[in-house]
């Protein structure tokens, strides 16, 4: 028997994987960081790592389709004369006209209205299409103040002061020149075609003491009628929520790192902020410690995809959730019917995230009139409404199985975790045990 040198299988590095190598080559060629849309794509502990226990000997279930399981939520009851009354606890997150086409904004308004929920403006002001088709519209108050004016403020049903978002806590908005058309430019008081990098801090206040006065001003301007939301990126949820309560917020939105953005540096999206799952319990804890849980409402966003996720977020203490990326997918974003065009753009359906380039084959993240015309706002709105209804039905199914007659009656005791990490973050026991890692330190 003779021995030769046996060949080894070529081995690629985990550290320098194909994506990493391609990114190094891309950076070396172009001299600019990679910009893209959407949220974190890396795998992080998420709602998939939690399970509901369902009813058993100690709890009895409610009959599916027969016994009631309510889904309504009131947002803004702390100070506002006119809080929002929504049929479902799933709202549409802020996305700007500019990053999205006018048809897409209209479709979001239509879908939300049919489903009985709210939609939200973005960094670029309120468009007539959106206001016209949205029964309940939340008007974002952002550092850039693009398109901010008292007339639209008074037309809004609520005001959301944006301090940060999950995809980029600490980062400002970004809309590159390709999408700054005449109309977008006019709404933002900017020259056409320039790269628009919004400020990351508000221009006229800094810190929670100032924010308290800013909220007072907005309440005075609107005669204390409109709920005031404060939105933060998932960074320091316990302290951010506590400070937002102190500042006088009616509603607090906490957006985890899977939450999407129209355009930001890849390195920012993937390396700054915390997973949504890790944000909820500290946020709820802050409200509970201040005696404000259910008095100041908590909206959780970032990677909500189905009724299971909705139910889990609510079980952990949220009053409602918000969706952005999933809503765009419901409209038609990344749909495989456009695969040939995605391939021409060097990507594939499901991975397309160059939203900043304005070439979206689905007509959603674009200002190109031809592409935009592909999206029928009525049909797309109907699709979104269907999706919202399905999510609600799914969440109700789970809640009934856990014996609850309202989604808000879901509780952490309905859950267990599949991983130690998820158990620690969600503060529920590891499946089959009574072990909540870190419980003794709370």
């Amino acid at each position: 028997m003779s021995y030769t040198n046996p060949p080894t299988v070529p081995r690629k590095s985990h550290t320098f994987d194909d994506y990493t190598l391609s990114e190094i080559r891309r950076a070396a060629t172009t001299g600019i960081y990679d910009i893209r849309g959407a949220g974190a794509k890396r795998k992080v502990p998420h709602f998939d790592d939690l399970l509901f226990l369902g009813a058993s000997m100690s709890r009895y279930p409610l009959e599916g389709y027969r016994e009631r399981c309510d889904t309504d939520v009131v947002l803004g009851s702390r100070h506002a004369k006119k809080p929002l009354h929504l049929k479902i606890p799933i709202t549409i997150a802020g996305m700007s006209f500019g990053s999205l086409s006018a048809n897409a904004k209209e479709a979001l308004g239509r879908g939300a209205t049919i489903a009985g929920t709210s939609t939200t403006t973005g960094d670029g002001g309120m468009s007539p299409e959106e206001r016209g088709q949205s029964k309940t519209l939340v008007y974002q108050y952002l550092p850039s103040r693009y398109g901010m004016n008292p007339e639209d403020l008074l037309k809004a049903d609520a005001i959301e002061i944006v301090i940060g978002q999950g995809a980029k806590p600490g980062g400002g908005g970004m809309l590159l020149g390709q999408k700054i058309t005449d109309r977008v430019a006019a709404m933002r008081t900017l020259p056409k075609g320039i790269d628009q990098r919004s400020a990351s801090r508000h221009p006229d206040w800094t810190g929670p003491d100032d924010l308290e006065i800013k909220i007072l001003e907005l309440r005075e301007i609107t005669d204390w009628q409109k709920p005031i939301f404060v939105k933060v990126g998932g960074a320091r949820p316990y302290y951010d929520v506590a400070l937002a309560v102190k500042s006088g917020a009616d509603v607090i939105v906490v957006d985890g790192m899977q939450g999407g953005t129209a355009a930001t540096q890849e390195v920012f999206i993937e390396n700054v902020g915390m997973p949504t799952l890790a944000c909820i319990r500290p946020a709820v804890q802050a409200l509970q410690d201040l005696g404000m849980h259910r008095k100041v409402q908590l909206i959780i966003s970032g990677g909500i995809r189905n009724g299971g996720d909705v139910a889990k977020a609510l079980a952990l203490g949220a009053d409602a959730v918000s969706i952005g990326t999933a809503a765009l997918v419901a409209l038609g974003d990344n749909d495989p019917t456009h695969e040939a065009e995605y391939e021409k753009l060097g990507t594939t359906a499901g991975a397309y995230d160059d939203w900043h380039e304005g070439k979206d084959p689905a007509g959603i993240t674009t200002q190109d009139p031809e592409l935009m015309a592909r999206l029928d706002p009525v049909l797309a709105g109907r699709r979104l409404a269907n999706y919202l209804k399905v999510m609600t039905l799914e969440a109700q199914t789970i809640a009934r199985a856990c014996g609850h007659n309202h989604l808000h009656n879901l509780e952490p005791e309905d859950l267990c975790a599949l991983t130690v990490e998820a158990a620690a973050m969600a503060r529920v026991p590891l499946a089959g045990t009574d072990w909540i890692p870190g419980r003794d330190r709370l």
């Binding site: 001299g31 600019i32 850039s144 103040r145 901010m148 004016n149 008292p150 403020l153 590159l176 020149g177 933002r188 008081t189 900017l190 020259p191 075609g193 320039i194 790269d195 400020a199 221009p203 006229d204 206040w205 100032d210 006065i213 800013k214 007072l216 001003e217 005075e220 301007i221 609107t222 005669d223 204390w224």
Partner: protein, 229 residues
């Protein structure tokens, strides 16, 4: 003429009363006394009325003003006339930070000095400051005119877009992408008109220098990365 004593009247009641004013109201002149440094006084007004405030104020006086002429016979805290759309706000004393921030229209006159970030992110407002302005003024200023009869602090006009800045005195330093530009006759005319509207008669428009955007940061270029700081 209605006189509102803020020592005896809730802020909410004052602002509500001002919001209920309509065009052609007989109550076209208001006086507010004893403001005692209150925040958010006379915010969101939308009527062609004149409001005189006797005393100094806190944050956001005259915020989001539309059409009213509001005169403060004292000094103001941060964010006076923030996001003003139209009308006129006159401050007889000094102004703190962010005066006229994000304003989209109207005229803000500060007869004393303004602190840092005066005209930050301005979007069409005209601001005339009789005295000096602090650092980082006109940061990311998009549109409108800032006329400063005194001196400007550090980093004037950092990351400026299309706003036009005019300073009569010294500029401690210019911010990224802000450069001095020639004063042409049309600029002298603009400054002269604004000085006139501000009631400043002892200073000549020809004494100002003009600053604005070099427009080098409008589209990202890696070779300009140092300018992004």
């Amino acid at each position: 003429m209605p006189t509102v004593d803020l020592a005896a009247t809730e802020l909410r009641a004052l602002n509500q009363a001002l919001h209920e004013l309509s065009d052609g109201t007989n109550e076209s002149r208001w006086e507010i006394v004893n403001p005692r440094g209150s925040h958010a006084v006379a915010v969101g007004v939308n009527a062609p009325v004149e409001i005189d405030i006797r005393g100094s104020l806190g944050y956001y006086c005259a915020g989001m003003n539309r059409r009213a002429k509001i005169t403060v016979h004292g000094s103001v805290g941060p964010g006076v006339a923030e996001n003003m759309m139209s009308g006129e706000v006159v401050v007889k004393g000094d102004a703190s930070q962010y005066a006229g921030a994000t304003g989209q229209g109207g005229l803000l006159v500060i007869e004393g000095n303004a602190s840092s970030r005066c005209g930050i992110s301005m979007k069409g407002i005209d601001i005339v400051v009789r005295g000096n302005i602090g650092h980082m003024s006109a940061f990311m200023a998009q549109a409108g005119h800032l006329v400063v009869c005194g001196n400007a602090g550090d980093a004037l006009g950092d990351s400026i877009y299309e706003a036009k800045l005019f300073v009569r005195g010294s500029v401690k330093s210019l911010g990224a992408d802000c450069i001095e530009k020639p004063m042409r006759p049309e600029h002298i005319e603009v400054v002269a008109k604004l000085l006139d509207r501000a009631g400043i008669t002892d200073i000549k428009a020809q004494e100002f220098r003009r600053y604005g955007s070099a427009r080098k940061l409008y589209n990202f270029n890696i070779d300009h990365a140092d300018a992004y700081g």
